[in-house]
Symmetry: C2
Amino acid sequence: MKFVNYESLNSPQKRNFPPREAIQLSEAIEKVRPILDAIKAEGRTAVLRYAHQFDGLQSDDMYVSPAEFAEAEEMLDDSTKEALRTAYKNIHAFHRRQMPQSISVTTMQGVTCEKEYRAIESVGLYVPGGTAPLPSTMLMLGIPAKIAGCKRIIACTPAKELVHPAVLFAARLAGVTELLKIGGAQAIAFMAYGDYTFQKVSKIFGPGNQYVMAAKQLVSIDPAGCTIDMPSGPSEVMVIADRYANPVYIAADLLAQAEHGIDSQAVLVSDNMQLITAVNNQIAMQLEKLPRKALAQESIKNSYSIYVQLLEQAFEISNEYAPEHLILHVENPERYKSKIINAGSVFLGQYSPESVGDYASGTNHSLPTSGYAKSMGGVAVESFMKSVTFQQLTYEGLKGIAPTVSTLADAEGLFGHKNAVTLRMKQ
Amino acid sequence: MKFVNYESLNSPQKRNFPPREAIQLSEAIEKVRPILDAIKAEGRTAVLRYAHQFDGLQSDDMYVSPAEFAEAEEMLDDSTKEALRTAYKNIHAFHRRQMPQSISVTTMQGVTCEKEYRAIESVGLYVPGGTAPLPSTMLMLGIPAKIAGCKRIIACTPAKELVHPAVLFAARLAGVTELLKIGGAQAIAFMAYGDYTFQKVSKIFGPGNQYVMAAKQLVSIDPAGCTIDMPSGPSEVMVIADRYANPVYIAADLLAQAEHGIDSQAVLVSDNMQLITAVNNQIAMQLEKLPRKALAQESIKNSYSIYVQLLEQAFEISNEYAPEHLILHVENPERYKSKIINAGSVFLGQYSPESVGDYASGTNHSLPTSGYAKSMGGVAVESFMKSVTFQQLTYEGLKGIAPTVSTLADAEGLFGHKNAVTLRMKQ
């Protein structure tokens, strides 16, 4: 890890510290644009062509059949099933409490305003394939969609022939209504545009590689009108530690992050130099035993240990960096909660490693990266809902508010707006 | 208005009815791209150059001074002040009730998960100038930002010399912290990128012309990391009316929409042919008296009257169209509330014209257009906040969840994730 004494930085450096690798999606965007155009024009035919070409899909049927779901349930070992059921239970318990509340307010006599929430009717979930199956992502996206009340929950994941049984089992647990064996930009485009055989969705969720990210960004500004959950970048963790912290645990947490990929970032901030040294020594030792050592080693090289004089400064750094994951290896971590403004998910204390949140504590693991935690939170039940406002006025209510509306419509030069009120007052 | 009998349409037509003019932003995007690039490279210098060129800004000082605020307060007539204060009061009363609630859930013994909300620290509001001042937009964006607790609330509006006093008065009421006399794509870019004199914001809100929209879309996919409230298109209203409705009021409501611009869309859906005829006659009569007759007339030409056999079908049409504004001119409108899934803001009954929501009832007028109401709601207090999740495990909690995390980390091939748990269990 690169070592930095925070005191040695000037103010502009502090404002952007530690630096992230800028996500350069422009090349990926140019590559996926023709894929999106082809799918807009040809629909399913083009989707299958790309699925054959890029993911090696063997068949022309992209739908997972009920038989495949049933088979997966038989094939999957009991311990994985049990683990997925426990994860489901915890994630469900935390998310079902997130239902946003309707309000009704009488703002003036005879003027009632209400805000209600409705599920997004049709949503698309993307679950990457790549090197390993990701049943946890299926749960993290499917469970809140189901709780929100989405009627149509489409999921896409790349496959050659069969989708991994753990992913199928998770999809069924979560309540996914249709599962398609397609991945990459072609999956995103198909969900966003649809065709005569497949109705497009209104919002797309989920992580992915740079082509998936690029495709999500393009559809998010396309007149087809599909929105996305968030822009996603490489995963990252920040650890804030004081002298009471255990360097063995911290090293394990940093390496769990680092094994995601060479672009992952793991950052340690501490007011204790001995601890920083001990963590770095532990990292060297634990690295040796990691199957993904090569990946993790590269990622650790691009990561930082930061020394601060006061622990307070660690929270300034963290809020400026806005980490996806933040772990507090400090004494009485709960007393710092109010200092944490910008972060995706926070792990309090030495028995709260990030991996519990990745799988099973109950919180969502679809989180804002790249500093987006400054303006957005992770995926939640409300991500699958939207509000509708209502107002109802009585004749007296309209009479009371009429002078205000007329005056403001006049000020803005909108006579028709004024007229809609004054006409009603005349009769 | 174009007349359509809904029965005469086939299913694909029904799925996209009434058709909207597709927003073609590609030309605008190519025009604003160099503006964004210049501001990224040169900051303030480029912003001023464009402000002089496009908006005729007279000075090199883009900040509204405290003296200008004070002057505006003196200049502004009492009735407008009073109207803005009433609007403020109602909007504030409705929005302060929207504060999202924290939750804390013990998902397993020793595993506590929490979700808390934090204000976005730095936000940017865009208030268009154009043909008329828009103090109402300043209130609609500024009030929820202030209630959310945003520390830095920047607003931009184009000006030659002085900003309209009503806009300044509204900005002060709402609690805007800095007001800049810049508009267009250059204002969006400056807020998104900042420079050494001006710190960038984390999220940008507000409507605007095609260049503003194009700039917002570009910054929303830029690695600079600024997010936006929503994509915005031309304004639109749908009216659902039964035989009890008053054609005079309906015509006034449709024209209030039509006067926004030639691309505005006003749609009437009814199960009563006589009413449709009467509304069309009323429109012809009322149009004559509108100062913005030319605009409204063009817009009305592109609008629709739709006949349905059953009122139920009107709600199917409305949910498929997902109107920004929906007005129910029907008997006992409240009984249809649960049928309304996709709409921005809904006006129930004959004494609830859309203009009350534009200004003063309390609901927000920054609403999703172009069908985006299928996946997003209007601007609300939560638009200025984001959630952070927390989890804290005791040793026993970790012990209880460890087998689940280990099994799933194994299934996903992430040994480091497993190790972070098993290491802690060993000690």
